[in-house]
Symmetry: C2
Subunit: 260 residues, 2 copies
Amino acid sequence: MAELAITFLGTGTSQGVPFVACDCRVCRSEDERDRRLRSSILVETEDTVLLVDTTPDLRTQALRHGLRRLDAAVFTHAHTDHVAGFDDLRRFCELSDRPMPVYASPHTMADLRRIFYYAFDGQHAYRNYVRPEPHEISGPFTIGDIELAPAEVPHGKMLVYGYIFSRGGRKLAAYFSDCHHVPPAVIGEISEIPVLIIDALRHEPHPSHLSLREALEVSAAARAQRTWLTHIGHDLGHAETETLLPPGVRLAYDGLRVEI
Amino acid sequence: MAELAITFLGTGTSQGVPFVACDCRVCRSEDERDRRLRSSILVETEDTVLLVDTTPDLRTQALRHGLRRLDAAVFTHAHTDHVAGFDDLRRFCELSDRPMPVYASPHTMADLRRIFYYAFDGQHAYRNYVRPEPHEISGPFTIGDIELAPAEVPHGKMLVYGYIFSRGGRKLAAYFSDCHHVPPAVIGEISEIPVLIIDALRHEPHPSHLSLREALEVSAAARAQRTWLTHIGHDLGHAETETLLPPGVRLAYDGLRVEI
């Protein structure tokens, strides 16, 4: 097995693709790669399985990928498209008969506690309910044999976390699903990283997300060895957008597995 | 067209069916009627389209049914499997260019405001964001040409709403997706109702839900003309459970449309 494997459970924007009741070319496309659930990834080694973000599609994603085990859930931020499936972690608590380690910034953890108070209040700790074991993070941490370093990036008016995944001190991949800018210090942190996964919402600039052009600029500035674009709206059809990309940069799609 | 049409967008329990990582006979079934998204219904006349509850599967359900319009969303209670898709109402606000009328008990509305505060705070009223128009209910009300009467039923330690749908003062259907008991006064309200839709989680009793036997007792006590069972777990396979039901009682399934 590779050192690290990343599986895209979803590559869509907050509304997914197709949009509901949209007749645009991409929303009517029959290319399976144009069908995007809300963005999240699974990060795996032989020993460890992490989920980044619990989208409203988590149950569907877990069934589609035959997920039977999760060692932890890690959060980028608490926008609805990244947390609404939190309750569906319950099944993994039941299967392991253990609480689920949940990693998030203090701000994001506070949002999870507000939204899913019943999971945190200790009054509903049934075997088949979601039972989080909260870990507030502000610096590097380790889950199993995967090292994670959060990196703050601006997403509209918020600061959210991207993550850099390493093993044995070697940086292998970085994930920035939601940001409209990547600060120079973060670019420095991901210099020549083997795999960069980054937000590319659409062609036009957006106050909370990188455009395709801006994502390509980040990729070039970081000299990423391979770049996969994610959190993709319905402006970007898979096949036609792929023709616009420079070497080493590709559009991700639901179900794609990348090995490093 | 019928006086009222009810479409089951989902008939599953909070985990849906199949359960994630479950190898039981029903979860491995290839009968499409054993594939249950989280429970909600669409209630329609020629002039009015209502959604009852916004499950985490709302986007999938809206795409599957080609939903292009919603006049209102009505809530039974605020458990996660009934509200997590609230943000996906955004698309219907965008399509109509109007806020979405949202009907719920004061308690449920307070939960919606807590969870989805950004939708209610007036600070994020963008055209393509969810913009609820809250209506707190405690008695009968009308949406378009559909009359609704809430009926309180116990669901574990909570009281939640079921709804009785009428036109021109004639009761046509009642929906009780989540309850472990139906009080005699409510039984009296739904006496001889043309269509009763009621919680039937599994064979064994449960502290928050009706068992199959209990649901049949409610149906018989109310002398409902037709009864459809919903909010169904993975203990009840569609085909085999149908053989156990008395005349006039059926198991609902995702996509079923009932006309009255």
